[in-house]
């Protein structure tokens, strides 16, 4: 997915190309809950930007501020170069959004739901409304169910219809808050394909999720939130690369293996059942394997496991992926 941002010659240059830029963005809800705390977010044009964080970390709150649904307590947010929420009229026609799950008029058909939302956009051309709605329905695979009342939709179908609404017009930015919620594996795969397609067309996609592998699979950039604060942001590769992988040896002779690995200078060795893990040393790993075999250790598996985003998250926040109170 890095091609998408690489194809963007200007993206690294000025700050002017950032599709989203927030400075010290803060939201305290009326109840006193500090939901977002001094957020400095920079989303480059053309990126597929993963916005990652456990439940309650402030992802939806941030998105609400970006699309002008709520007013920041302090700080600023610029979307497509314009301040929000002041410029909603100019900015939002270029932004497709799925926020906190879909919401539909149950007594209207899927198609009529789209027509109504399109009618709400004063810059949308009524003459092309029906064709655009049909194209959007087709894009999310809902053509067959277009005439069905939305209250008869399954959760996944509702989610698809919400996505269709975001795709009613060509957008420069798509803001998707947990878009694969409620989708079956097939549906998830389709959404990922769709996101890649859209990104290929040059649309910037801002994707919130608490599913790490989802972000790993489609995103070029990632930001990690915890308890309303930004923990890190950057290209997805650098985040995981900052963490070294772990050497994993699978063997029935775990105790012997652990001893040999320590002798060979492997740090932080730990044995768990038939798995022995440790920090890989800087020299050729083949020699390590030879040492194990010469010592009579029966090796079933030998290799380095890449650090996942989950590991990255743990390392960054020093805590698990749990809900903060």
């Amino acid at each position: 997915m890095d091609e998408a941002s690489a194809a963007e010659p200007d993206s690294a240059r000025g700050t002017g190309d950032d599709v989203i830029r927030t400075r010290a963005l803060t939201k305290r809800y009326r109840g006193g809950q500090l939901a977002v705390d001094g957020l400095d977010l920079t989303v480059p044009a053309g990126s597929v930007f993963g916005f990652l964080g456990p439940n309650g970390s402030g992802k939806t709150t941030t998105i609400r501020m970006l699309v002008g649904l709520i007013e920041p307590t302090s700080g600023t947010a610029r979307v497509l170069g314009r301040p929000m929420p002041r410029s909603t009229r100019a900015v939002l026609p270029h932004v497709g959004a799925l926020i906190e799950g879909p919401a539909l008029y149950g007594f209207l058909s899927g198609r009529d739901n789209l027509l109504r939302l399109d009618a709400a956009d004063p810059t949308a051309d009524p003459r092309t409304r029906r064709t655009r709605a049909a194209a959007a329905l087709d894009r999310v695979g809902l053509t067959a169910a277009a005439g069905k009342k939305a209250k008869a939709y399954s959760l996944g179908m509702k989610q698809r219809l919400g996505l269709a609404a975001a795709l009613l017009r060509p957008r420069r930015l798509l803001v998707l808050d947990e878009p694969t919620n409620g989708l079956d594996p097939q549906g998830m795969r389709e959404i990922r394909t769709l996101v890649r397609e859209l990104a290929g067309d040059g649309t910037t996609v801002f994707l919130s999720s608490h599913l790490l592998d989802e972000i790993e699979q489609v995103c070029t950039h990632v930001a990690v939130m915890a308890r309303g604060r930004l923990v890190t942001q950057g290209p997805v590769g650098t985040l995981a690369a900052g963490l070294r992988g772990r050497l994993v040896v699978t063997t029935p002779d775990a105790a012997d293996a652990a001893r040999v690995l320590k002798e060979q200078g492997v740090g932080d060795v730990a044995a768990d059942g038939d798995r022995v893990t440790g920090d890989p040393p800087d020299r050729d790993l083949a020699e390590l394997n030879t040492a194990l075999v010469t010592a009579g250790v029966r090796v079933r598996g030998f290799g380095v496991e890449r650090a996942s985003l989950e590991d990255a998250f743990m390392a960054l926040t020093g805590e698990g992926f749990d809900v903060a109170g």
Binding site: V19, G81, T88, P93, I99, Y105, L117, R171
Partner: protein
């Protein structure tokens, strides 16, 4: 997404080779005033959404049934050979006249529904206008469409006002149909005792329906304001209807005489003055002014609230 779209707006965008990936510092001209006709698109959508709702249709059906019940009751009573009595609370001297002229059923039915049934229906529709969308979550999608908060509120008020008119006309037309079926039609007597032609009577019936519809617009604004205060459609409807009942009672208490001229239902029954000859305009005009005042005050309050509100639902 760079699929050519004929309506992608403005020269600012089309001049650029790759519009979707171009610099974002100068956003495309989507903010330029869209044609006012496109605001009508939202109004049309809102009207059809409101009048396709099962609940709206049920309210209208109940309202249409009231004249049927009144008509049948009067018919049965007179069929028994009794004089049609003054009971029934159907407004001034109208009920007694129904047996002689079916047109009076229109006045009777409006007088019977104006104190409670009609405002109840309006309270439900107005209370649900914003809160119902918030409740369903559709409000956030309308706002990011972007419908524009002021524009959405104006469209909501216009639709509620349209409902006031439609609801009143449903009562009037149902009454006219039932009256024509069950009773004779013809020239009629005004309250002042003069005779007017049936055509003149029909004209006055239409004026009365309009006066009744206008009587409801103050309540519509109040309901819309309440609707911006909560995210629960049911709570907004209940509050509006509760306010209606409280105000109706307050309007009857002699001790509260001083404030009564400022209560929105105070001049509601002034529509009967349209049946005088000549028409007595004073209270009708006062009613109009009072409704305009309520619409202005609560319309502004609704606007102030809705345009600054955090939409988290």
């Amino acid at each position: 997404m760079s699929r050519a779209d004929p309506e992608t707006e403005g020269t600012a965008r089309t001049a650029r080779p790759a519009a979707d990936t171009g610099p974002v510092t100068e956003p495309a001209g989507a903010g330029r005033a869209p044609s006012p006709l496109r605001t009508l698109g939202l109004l049309r959508s809102e009207l059809s959404t409101t009048f396709r709702r099962w609940r709206t249709l049920a309210l209208l059906a109940v309202l249409a049934a009231v004249p049927v019940l009144v008509g049948i009751a009067v018919r049965i009573q007179t069929g028994d050979g009794q004089q049609s009595g003054r009971g029934g609370g159907g407004g001034p001297a109208f009920l007694t006249q129904v047996t002689h002229n079916g047109l009076f059923l229109v006045f009777t039915a409006l007088a019977a529904t104006l104190p409670f049934f009609l405002p109840l229906a309006v309270g439900v529709v107005a209370g649900d206008a914003v809160a119902g969308e918030a409740n369903a979550g559709t409000l956030r999608y309308l706002l990011v469409a972007p419908a524009g908060r002021t524009r959405l509120l104006v469209v909501k008020y216009a639709t509620t006002t349209a409902f006031c008119l439609v609801a009143t006309l449903v009562v009037a037309l149902s009454a006219l149909a039932v009256g024509a079926l069950l009773f004779p039609l013809g020239d009629l007597m005004t309250i002042s005792g003069t005779r007017i032609t049936f055509a003149d009577g029909l004209g006055r019936a239409l004026l009365i329906a309009l006066a009744v519809a206008v009587s409801l617009t103050g309540l519509a604004a109040l309901g819309l304001f309440v609707s911006t205060l909560t995210n629960s459609g049911v709570a907004a409807m209940a509050t509006t209807v509760g306010l209606l009942i409280t105000v109706q009672i307050t309007d009857q208490l002699p001790q509260l005489h001083a404030i009564q001229p400022y209560l929105f239902p105070h001049y509601w029954l002034s529509f009967a003055d349209l049946m005088r000859d000549p028409v007595y305009w004073d209270d009708l005009v006062k009613n109009l002014q009072l409704q305009a005042l309520y619409a202005a005050v609560f319309g502004s309050a609704a606007w102030a609230r809705f345009t600054t509100k955090d939409v988290t639902a």
